[in-house]
């Protein structure tokens, strides 16, 4: 089975700092593989282990994305394709999906494309469905469980109210949620071997055609949302603390 897994190198929000004006210092910010993408990689590797075949890791991002790609390789990727996109030129979700789809089309016959529910840093959940559109493949979203057999895919999708069981013919694109699996920890040996594998670099320019969609998307501003909470700790016995809390909430006018 030829499996593609889409991985994003995301900003590590825990390490992200703000400047004095409250804007995030994105240049040189620490990055990591988007958390949910680890579940995507795990799912892709599991499918490879059940069905045989290859897992090709495809990423669009800057130079620092190599780190995330190598982590995906260490988990069981066979090879990797890196579409280079440095920050001022980094495309929006539609542009990203366009380039990812073009990169995937170059790979020849693909049976399954796995992605995650959204990026851990920007979480909009658009790219997976858009890639499916560009590839003209069915899209199965928010999968908790994925099964493939004899050219078909079946998955369980969590939605507000319950679970749906979906089916479609392969090739298809499926996005997994974090509850789908527990991502494996690669051994040091797997990390070392993965580190030695070559990653294929491609430029956006080489993939861009006349059909590239110009959306004019622009981020006008990003500013810190101040927390400014009172952080009052109410101590004492459960009864005393409860009394103090109720008094405070009455004063706040929310009770």
């Amino acid at each position: 089975m030829n499996i593609v897994v889409l991985v994003k190198s995301a900003v590590d929000e825990a390490e992200l700092r703000a400047d004095t004006a409250g804007h995030p210092v994105l240049k040189g910010a620490a990055t990591k593989m988007s958390n949910f993408d680890m579940n995507g990689v795990e799912e892709a590797v599991k499918q490879k282990e059940s069905n045989g075949g290859t897992v090709i890791v495809v990423t669009l991002g800057g130079a620092e994305a190599k780190k995330a790609i190598k982590e995906a390789m260490a988990m069981g990727g066979t090879r990797a394709v890196h579409v280079l996109a440095e920050p001022p030129d980094a495309p929006d979700s539609l542009g990203t999906a366009y380039f990812l789809a073009k990169a995937i089309k170059r790979l020849g016959e693909v049976d399954l494309v796995v992605c995650s529910e959204g990026a851990s840093d920007t979480y909009q959940g658009q790219v997976g469905a858009m890639v499916a559109e560009f590839l003209d493949m069915p899209f199965l979203a928010y999968a908790k469980k994925v099964e493939t057999e004899a050219g078909r895919i079946k998955c369980e999708q969590g939605f507000e109210g319950g679970v749906r069981v979906l089916e479609a013919k392969l090739p298809a694109v499926v996005s997994v949620v974090s509850e789908a699996n527990v991502p494996r920890y690669p051994t040091l040996l797997q990390v070392m071997v993965a580190g030695r594998k070559a990653i294929e670099d491609i430029t956006m320019a080489s993939l861009k055609g006349d059909d590239y969609p110009e959306t004019g998307m622009e981020v006008l501003d990003i500013t810190l949302q101040s927390a400014n909470r009172k952080r009052v700790l109410l101590d004492g016995s459960p009864e005393e603390a409860s009394r103090k809390l109720v008094e405070a909430l009455r004063r706040e006018g929310v009770l």
Binding site: G125, Q126, M130, A141, G161, V219, I222, L233, V246, L249
Partner: protein, 307 residues
């Protein structure tokens, strides 16, 4: 010129219709709520509604819903497609944007028009930052539940249109509704939220008692809905779930990871009850009690009942 709005959920359809009306009035356009298969009985909108029908159920899957909306968007002078953010809506928005080859601004809480572009205000980087993102029109955007208030009126119905959508490629073979603790948090003024501090599903009764005493709705953090299945997805509050902005938010047994906090930042007053003094939730709470929820919650409930 039109701004079309859509949601598969009647309540949210009213909210996104209000957003549509807001944007449309700035543009001098008409706000049109697109309804698929039938006009929902509960639809509330001060604008107009358009009914779409096809030779199969349009709301059956995201492909047919998106195809129907795209047909309308292409046939009429549509400046923006606004979709209410749900799992279904998120996929529909992405597909509509891709098929129309226009920008998808993503999911946010406020829309405005600035120099001919649609601007969406949305959370960024785990909810710590607020971003203003703009795209040229036509474009697609998603509105989060509770960000806009639905109007009181029933919409004025325009035509019913027939649309042609392709074959169904993703089939729902089964739908399973689980027995869960009920919840309706989207616009609740007070919310009690349960996290991993609760040892078993039955213990949620403590949280429910507290919620009842407060006149609050019951919600939860992601593990309780998605992992443990104790509550439904609609109760899950956080970055990848529902964004709430109640007057009072009480987080019980919730550690306060960024993913959860992203969904509650706009609450007026946040209260945290957790036995771990180091839990990050205390950094974002107005009032906190460090203690075992199994002791504190019943005591608090009793106190509230005594008035």
């Amino acid at each position: 010129m039109e701004v079309i709005t859509y949601s598969e959920d009647a309540g949210l359809a009213g909210e996104v219709a209000a957003a549509g009306l807001d944007v449309a009035s700035v543009l001098g356009a008409d706000a049109v709520a697109v309804e698929l298969d039938e006009v929902s009985a509960g639809l509330r909108s001060a604008g107009k509604a358009l009914l779409l029908k096809g030779d199969r159920t349009l709301e059956e899957d995201t492909d047919s819903a998106a195809a129907a909306i795209v047909e309308v968007a292409k046939a009429r002078d549509v400046r923006a497609v606004l979709v209410a953010e749900t799992k279904f809506g998120t996929v529909v928005a992405a597909k509509v944007a891709a098929r129309l080859r226009v920008g998808s601004l993503g999911m946010g809480k406020r829309l405005r028009v600035d120099e001919g572009r649609l601007v969406l205000e949305r959370d960024a980087y785990g909810g710590k930052y607020l971003a203003q993102v703009a795209a040229k029109m036509p474009c697609v955007a998603m509105v989060q539940a509770g960000a806009y208030k639905a109007a009181d009126a029933r919409p004025q119905l325009l035509d019913a249109l027939s649309v042609n959508v392709g074959d169904q490629r993703v089939v729902t073979v089964e739908t399973r509704k689980s027995h869960r603790v009920e919840s309706d948090i989207k616009s609740a003024p007070r919310i009690v939220s349960a996290g991993r501090g609760f040892a078993k599903k039955e213990d949620l009764a403590l949280a429910q008692d507290l919620a009842n005493a407060l006149g609050a709705a019951l919600g939860c953090s992601r593990p309780l809905s998605s992992d443990l299945g104790w509550m439904g997805e609609e109760a899950h509050i956080g970055l990848t779930g529902v964004y709430v902005h109640p007057q009072l938010y009480m987080a019980v047994g919730i550690s306060g990871q960024l993913q959860h906090v992203a969904g509650i930042k706009d609450s007026k007053v946040i209260v945290a009850i957790n036995k771990d003094a180091q839990a990050p939730i205390f950094q974002v709470a107005d009032y906190g009690i460090v203690g075992d929820l199994y002791d504190v919650v019943p005591a608090l409930t009793r106190f509230l009942r005594q008035g």
